[in-house]
Subunit: 104 residues, 2 copies
């Protein structure tokens, strides 16, 4: 089965995480995943962009270390790397998720 | 005296703040300002970039609402907009500053 590349915990860089979060579509994905108790397939998150653009945004999040993506069959399932991020950058993910939720 | 444009508090956007922070030089500036008790002139912060590149980075931070810049004479003095950011995005600035400081 195809396995997607993920940075190791020690390879996750603050700048890359901030860059990955600095986009409204990617924030929408992060917010959705933050509320989910389990892995979520891409098709469950409705984004107002084309499928290929959506795929790009998921990849940016994965390559920065913000989310994990695993194949089940032909679908990719996504989850926040909450433990890794909380360990590396305590409070960062929570403050961003709260800020998204509070946004006007 | 020349006055520089700053976004009003209500105009500060999460994506712009995250984008402004997603750069090693700008994180270096933010870290320095977070430790300063007063406004700091650009020349006090040693950056390993040209003066014009440095000016660009300060402008990105200002236009995103991360810092304020005021002229005193011909020098620009910089300060974090900590109160505004803490009100808009509680915990965000602290978590980023802590993450910079803890970085390997």
């Amino acid at each position: 089965m195809r396995v997607l590349d993920h940075p190791e915990v020690g390879e996750i860089r603050l700048e890359s995480v901030l860059h990955a979060l600095a986009d409204p579509i990617r924030l929408q994905i992060v917010r959705f995943l933050a509320q989910a108790a389990r892995g979520v397939s891409c098709s469950e998150i409705e984004l107002e962009v084309s499928k290929s653009t959506g795929t790009h945004h998921y990849r940016v999040l994965r390559e920065a270390g913000v989310i994990s993506q695993v194949y089940r069959g032909t679908a990719k399932f996504n989850a926040l790397r909450r433990d890794d991020l909380d360990t590396l950058f305590p409070g960062l993910l929570d403050s961003v998720v709260s800020a998204i939720a509070a946004r006007r």
